[in-house]
Symmetry: C2
Subunit: 251 residues, 2 copies
């Protein structure tokens, strides 16, 4: 097995989570032509208004999608982790409507768009998996709209802490009950539509209520059920368990 084939394994894992892929599907995915590029922390993978012709797949590290509004404020619109396809949207729609930036340093596999499109055309199950993946992204976006639009800061923060816990665990990057936040409080503020100062106070509030414990970036969830209640968190929107294959993760 060539080293490059191994590297796309996380893509196979990701897609295989929602659609049952056979060994041929997996082999075809691993055989995709690609080139691994290392990115430094804060480096841009895609910039708004770019015209992309390739697709990137996150191999290691974390990235964010963000938009900058008129007064210079930033809103993070998505978090990407291992296995996520980072510029499918941009490469198919032509013009990037947002930027993708590394949150940590990490590697990204660059795949020619045509190769991915051809694969989707040849293998219906792979196409379905990518389709579902895109739709889950959309579902998460909708939840985030509701989160920043209608929840107060405590609920809002508790909600994303729950979301991160589950997503990190599913991606094999942490545990549901304890993980390392891959971002600063400032960046967390840009996820939540809050200032870093208020994020700090809100984290303290959650800690004071005994829901979480934290040391620097490490978050320990003391009482998952209660945190989920406070955060108005119902994992349905992550669609972790309504696919053909099910990792059976409860709320």
């Amino acid at each position: 097995m060539s080293p490059s084939a191994n590297q796309l394994q996380c893509l196979v894992n990701k897609l295989g989570r929602s659609v049952l892929l056979d060994t041929e599907d997996a082999k075809a995915l691993l055989a995709l032509p690609h080139q691994v590029r290392g990115f430094t922390k804060h480096q841009y993978v895609v910039r708004e208004r770019d015209r992309a012709t390739t697709c990137g797949v996150m191999l290691t590290g974390f990235a964010i999608r963000h938009k900058i509004v008129a007064d210079g404020a930033r809103q993070i619109v998505a978090i990407q982790m291992a296995g996520d396809v980072v510029d499918l949207q941009n490469s198919i729609l032509g013009v990037a409507d947002h930027s993708v930036q590394m949150l940590t340093s990490g590697d990204v596999a660059i795949i020619p768009r045509e190769a991915l499109q051809q694969l989707a055309f040849d293998r219906p199950r792979v196409a379905l998996a990518m389709w579902r993946d895109t739709l889950v992204d959309g579902s998460i976006s909708r939840e985030w709209i509701a989160n920043v639009g209608r929840r107060d800061s405590v609920t809002r923060l508790a909600h994303v802490l729950c979301e991160f816990a589950l997503r990190l665990e599913v991606a094999g990057l942490g545990e549901q009950s304890s993980y390392e936040l891959p971002m600063t409080q400032e960046e967390l503020g840009d996820v939540l539509g809050l200032t870093s100062v208020h994020v700090n106070r809100t984290l303290k509030e959650l800690e004071a209520r005994g829901l979480i414990k934290r040391t620097t970036r490490d978050v320990v969830i003391n009482d998952w059920d209660e945190l989920a209640v406070v955060g108005d968190f119902d994992a349905t929107y992550l669609h972790l368990s309504d696919g053909p294959r099910t990792p059976a993760r409860a709320t």
Copy 2:
């Protein structure tokens, strides 16, 4: 031409806007088996947690996608108009993560999911068009996250007024410079993450600045360029003009 074939014309129009479809593609779309259902104002098309097996295509009227949060507040996460496919997400993902509700009365064509999937499989251009359509939906969602997350009420409102103007015009339901808002101020508040009271005050503010004029639900945009500046509106995210075929709408 049968009457039912005519009714799906708006779907052909919508999809044809982003991908150049040939007559065979159009014919196949119009030949989709479907059944037209009338819905009354406020009636639900899909309810959160439903398991959908059909897809709906908006023929006339407007619908919203929304989520209800813990304290009972509602957030509208999308607006749907003629030609929009309203439960593709839900039918492919299995469980509806949000509700779809009529904003006005209107007709929806109900199409069996399998027929649509088969069509996508048989006709790559149709599949690409649906794919692009889904990605544009995602792009709009991301813009809305930024809108509610990081813009103040005046900017936020001006932004959606611009978005509605363009989308209504493209759908052939109004003009860029003047249109009828299909919703109450309360509903507009649920789009913006604001209260109806504050929406009212903000509308007055925009009017006082001479950017818009309004009578009941009718909005006249006096100064598009300035409204776009105030609303931090850049139409890139609507991807109206970066497809193979271009209606060439500037901002």
